[in-house]
């Protein structure tokens, strides 16, 4: 089968790195900012196990 070039070019590596960083950015924004604003009671620790 056609596996494609096995060596990764630097733009390809950069693209993957940017995706990973983007995931981190979105995750932190969602968990720290957006979710607490939406349901502050749940986020404040009333949910068991917090």
């Amino acid at each position: 089968m056609g596996a494609g070039p096995r060596a990764a070019s630097w733009p390809q590596r950069l693209f993957v790195l940017l995706l990973l960083l983007l995931g981190m950015l979105i995750s932190v924004t969602v968990i720290r900012v957006i979710d607490p604003a939406a349901e502050p009671r749940a986020e404040a620790g009333r949910t068991p196990g917090k």
């Binding site: 089968m1 056609g2 596996a3 494609g4 070039p5 096995r6 060596a7 990764a8 390809q12 590596r13 693209f15 993957v16 995706l19 990973l20 983007l22 995931g23 979105i26 995750s27 969602v30 968990i31 957006i34 979710d35 604003a37 939406a38 349901e39 009671r41 749940a42 986020e43 620790g45 009333r46 949910t47 068991p48 196990g49 917090k50």
Partner: protein
Amino acid sequence: MSGAIRTEARLIRAHGYAAIGGLLLSALFGLAVSLKFHAPAFLNGQAWLTWGRLRYDHTQGILYAWLGNAFLAFLYYALPRLARRPVTSARLGWALFIVWNVIAVLGGWTLVLAGVSQPLEWAEFPLAIAGVIECAWALIILQFGLPLLRRGAEAIYVSGWYLLGGVLFTSLAYPVGNLVPRFLPGAMGAGFSGLWIHDAVGLFITPFALAIAYFVIPAVSRRPIYSHFYSMVGFWLLFLVYPLNGIHHYLYSALPMSSQHAAEVASIYQGLDVILVVTNLLLSIRASEAWADVPLRFVWTSVMLYLVVSVQGSLQAVMSFNRYIHFTDWVIGHSHLAMIGFASFAAMGALAHIWQQTPGARFHPGALAWSYWLLTVGLCLMVADLTAAGLVQAGLWRGTLPWIESVRVSRPYWIFRTLDGLVLLGGFVAFGLSLLRGPARRAQIAEVDADSHEALPRRSWLGSAYAATFGAGLLFFVVSFVALGILPALRLRAEIRESTPPAAHLALSPAERRGRAIYAREGCAYCHTQQVRETRADMLRFGAPTAAWETQREFPQMWGTRRVGPDLARESTQRRADWQLVHLFDPRYTAPDSVMPAYPWMFDGAPDRPGRDALDLAAYLGSLGRAAGSGAGPAMCVAPSSPGMAKGDPGQGRRVFQHNCAGCHGEGGVADSPGGQALSPPAFDLAAAAMADSLVWRALRQGVPGTSMPSWAGLPAADLRNVAAYTLQLGDPGDLPAAERRAPPDVLLEAGKRVYDMHCTACHGDTGAGDGPEAGRHEPRPAAFLEMQPSYPLARRVIHSGVAGTAMSAWPLLTPAEIQAVTTYIRSLYRGPQRGRPVEVRK
């Protein structure tokens, strides 16, 4: 190795035909399920054709009968090309075919229809069948996994890696989803259920579909994949983050918030991983190629929709968005987009692609093109329809309108879904025809040269097939098992130990346990959740959030992931057993617009003659939320304090009445409906008494404790005023015809007072205010004659026969003259306004 490698064409054809049959039957199950949403009487009255059982068979059929067979057919073609070796044994292949289709699929379908199943999402086939399927996974590993692993580890193409990882992971995750929730209750089991719910799609369906995409695209375009690096990063990231998604099905639940946040992050990364995978696949293909080759067009569309559905899934897992659309038809649209748009399109592309190479297989390209367009149009319309329905439902659930309002407004969307389902069914039929009609291929299948694979440099053990298999399959499984199951379960166990109230009534009686099994068997959990989430909307409507300690006897948990009907976690504070029984016999008796299936086979012909199953089920429903106490019920009461009924429009009120009240009180308010008469106490005859505004308003706002009359405080204030005005207009206490009068009025009044003082004051009070010394002991409270003036016939009936389900006993020793006298007296106590006959109703 050297020489040609045999491809098992007969097994390809056998699994292909089984896949087509499975697809069409599963689609018919789905169509019947869809029809029942807006025509609940369709196929009603037979236990084996009830909604819940057909729903189980629909999803299990799509998973095993359709996709399972299609993937196996693909494997028989692809494996020799990926492994450069034949499958382990043709005989083993036929054994697998029989085990998969005859025992697992046909056996599972039949048992589910017979009422033998388990209420675990994507694991509805009963445990015995689950054991058979697990054996089938072992056979699949033997048949396909071993040849792949034997190939030079460095030479396995990415499709092979996906297949290896998917097969091994699923064989491990499958028993977790089927077995663990039976032994770990409630919240603790939910984490494991979530793991399997997501893995069934994420690590069975997805790896196979991606293996197809990575196989068919270079095979048709005759060019390599754009980037091997992207292929591998996508593969590893998928197997790392997909299993960690599971708990996003239970956000805002009693599961630890840290686990929920972890699932949220994993879901976000999953979406980004899919962007990477799809980028790689789309850069490997030209649009013109996809357009020219219809099987490739199916695969290309599958890849595009994989991107859409995955980004949508990531968005749905963000808690602040999830609180809005979870449980609605939005999610059903999402799952159809995944199972048809992504998985089925990939499977169809693969089947059509390999079918063209398979000797003895017929192929009709025109029918396949028709299938593509019917399915593409049908799917887009269905997803748009369900997404819109979900948004409407979500909006209504955040307000205070009665739940049934969301069912009512969903009806046009559900009708559209059925019509659209016919288009999809047409597409499936066309697909079947494309593989069953047309000229048969006579040439032998292209042989694979065992020596033809490209020489690849040796890599470290980390890059070997064994490392990939055990890393993606075993190691990541263990990581997800610990992160999603064991760690939350340990925290929950400690929390349950600390928070369970000492006198909590958690144990179920034998009848309640039997009722729970019936609830599970009939698929009730697929329309009624049993978890009040920690969101404002849920707490306002359903009461206190479900705590982990409440769920410690739920084997398995039935929290649910969809609400067509309301949540039942606090049902013990909401409805009485008599209402439940009437509702089970025919839901339209109590809620005219309900779409719930009826269960008449649990009764002996009438709602007030329940069989054991019905009694057990009602007992179980009465136990839901009991441990948390009555204080955990909803406190929703938002109607205006001032009735202002004078401003109500009786004509508009009649419309509200017909939708919400006529089920019990009858269309004319005279309590002549079978549902109302079967209640205990029976529904009140609104036309047989004059009532004060305060009585009607109080009943509407607060319900009538001790009866099945619920609070309607969630109705808009205008609707409340209108229906109150209509109800007041109905009341006609009439008068006593002179010919029937047994004595002059003043004599009747005096005699009636004596009877009343002797027999009635203990409950109804000296002044008829319903506040006698015994009154507080009774529920419903004794009638207050200051607010209600019964007609002579009503009073005669009640006094002579009593009222079932209340403390009002029969007074058979009172003579007709005495009854007339006491009626005259209690009518004289009334202080409310007199009402006329019903107004002319505006149509």
